[in-house]
């Protein structure tokens, strides 16, 4: 195992084109954009299906259907259709993050204790209040776990962007491969894995912070 590329200070200067910090930034940019777009699309749909129970079949099967779409193929299809640029990458990655977010939003809504919802109604809460102040907070832990797995997946998968000429940490893999520099490929793999772990930790902390203590039992 040759770590020379990873530990070469020259590859860590923020101002150099294609340096590791620059690639991390572009990588995160793809990841964050895909997660935001994916959440904006999938969360309302998942919540709606979970809340009303209509279209459950779709929500349950969206997960596996989405996973079965090969991201590389989708990406190459999009680049062939739309040309080089950020849009094809975002489409491919967004398709990847929608299923786990949708499915977990649905599952979070379906698995919460209906008696609590009845109690909230009995207390005279309006439907919007029930949704926002009872159902949503209670579904949050399950939803967060879906979001976290979406984030993990998209961090590892965003590397394929480099296969179609974009940036991100995949550059280290593709370029390292093209010039037969395994130390560079290794650096890419390590940085991606570390990035995934760090992102997951941050999301875990965020989860502790936003999930109601009454649910997590931390103050019990």
């Amino acid at each position: 195992m040759n770590l020379s590329y990873l530990f070469d200070a020259a590859h860590w200067s923020l101002s150099t084109d294609g340096s590791i910090p620059q690639l991390i930034l572009s990588h995160l940019w793809y990841v964050v954009l895909a997660l935001i777009i994916g959440t904006v699309i999938a969360l309302p749909v998942g919540l709606y299906i979970g809340h009303t129970g209509r279209g459950s079949f779709l929500a349950i099967n969206a997960g596996n259907a989405g996973r079965s779409l090969p991201t590389l193929g989708l990406l190459m299809l999009m680049v062939t259709l739309l040309g080089l640029g950020l849009t094809p990458v975002l489409i491919a990655l967004t398709v990847l993050v929608i299923p786990p977010i949708l499915t977990s939003a649905y599952a979070g809504m379906r698995t919460l204790d209906r008696r609590v919802v009845d109690a909230a109604r009995g207390m005279g809460m309006r439907p919007s209040q029930v949704l926002l102040r009872v159902e949503l907070p209670m579904a949050l832990p399950v939803m967060m776990s879906g979001f976290r797995s979406a984030a993990l997946q998209v961090v590892a998968t965003a590397t394929v962007a480099a296969a179609v000429g974009l940036n991100g940490l995949g550059r280290l893999l593709i370029d390292g491969l093209a010039v037969n520099d395994y130390s560079r490929v290794l650096a890419g793999a390590i940085v991606v894995a570390v990035l995934a772990v760090v992102l997951d930790l941050i999301l875990a902390l965020a989860q502790r912070w936003i999930v109601s203590p009454g649910l997590s039992g931390r103050f019990r």
Partner: protein
């Protein structure tokens, strides 16, 4: 589209066959490896968290990097399909050992205690009671692993071995949609079939789950 299909039928079939192999062999091997690992994570509870964390890290290694690195680690040839098989086996084990552990942990303690009271010893209790009861969870994990393996194989095309992924790179190099679309459709269909097969298998091996549908 039809001209493409008729001209390239053999290529497509070969790619499909390779794809099936490369995706499903790791599922079988990975499942066999994950069973004991998952069990250990339950038998020795202090192992559970290290297990889950290791699995998480392994799962976040980009597949392309694994495909490229395995020849260096294993001494295999760089175009050997073995690299793809081993890489996907690693992902499968990472995913399934956690599911197996979670499945076994989900078994109601009352069931375990009743089995013990009925005279089951540890190993037989595991194979005859705990595993069957944990099966729905384990098979759900198996579905995820199978489907994601089928879609991951195509990344191998970037290093020259990738089943249907070859159709993607081919279409991409010529800016030609047909091979890419055929590759995606076949890959999704394959995943759907494999998924369905596991669901049917699950019905067959866990007949009891059908009778309690609404009770949960």
């Amino acid at each position: 589209m039809s001209t493409y299909l008729s001209n390239n039928w053999d290529t497509i079939l070969t790619a499909l066959r390779q794809h099936i192999w490369l995706a499903l062999l790791p599922v079988v091997i990975g499942f066999v490896i994950a069973l004991p690992i998952g069990y250990l994570g339950v038998r020795f509870p202090w192992l559970y968290h290290p297990l889950v964390n290791t699995a998480g890290v392994l799962y976040s290694i980009p597949s392309l990097a694994l495909f490229v690195f395995l020849p260096v680690l294993l001494g295999t040839k760089i175009l050997s399909p073995l690299n793809i098989v081993v890489a996907l086996t690693i992902y499968t084990v990472a995913l399934l050992s956690r599911t197996v552990a979670d499945g076994l942990r989900s078994v109601d303690d009352i069931i375990v205690q009743s089995a013990t009271a009925m005279g089951y010893r540890r190993l037989r209790r595991l194979t005859d009671v705990e595993l069957p009861v944990a099966l729905p969870v384990i098979l759900a994990g198996l579905r995820v692993a199978t489907v994601s393996n089928i879609s991951l194989v195509s990344v191998g095309a970037l290093i020259g071995v990738g089943g249907l992924g070859q159709l993607f790179t081919r279409g991409f190099q010529l800016f030609y949609l047909e091979p890419i679309i055929v590759g995606i459709v076949l890959s999704v269909a394959l995943a759907g079939l494999a998924d369905l097969a596991i669901v049917l298998l699950q019905r067959l091996v866990t007949p009891w789950t059908r009778f309690q549908g609404s009770a949960a």
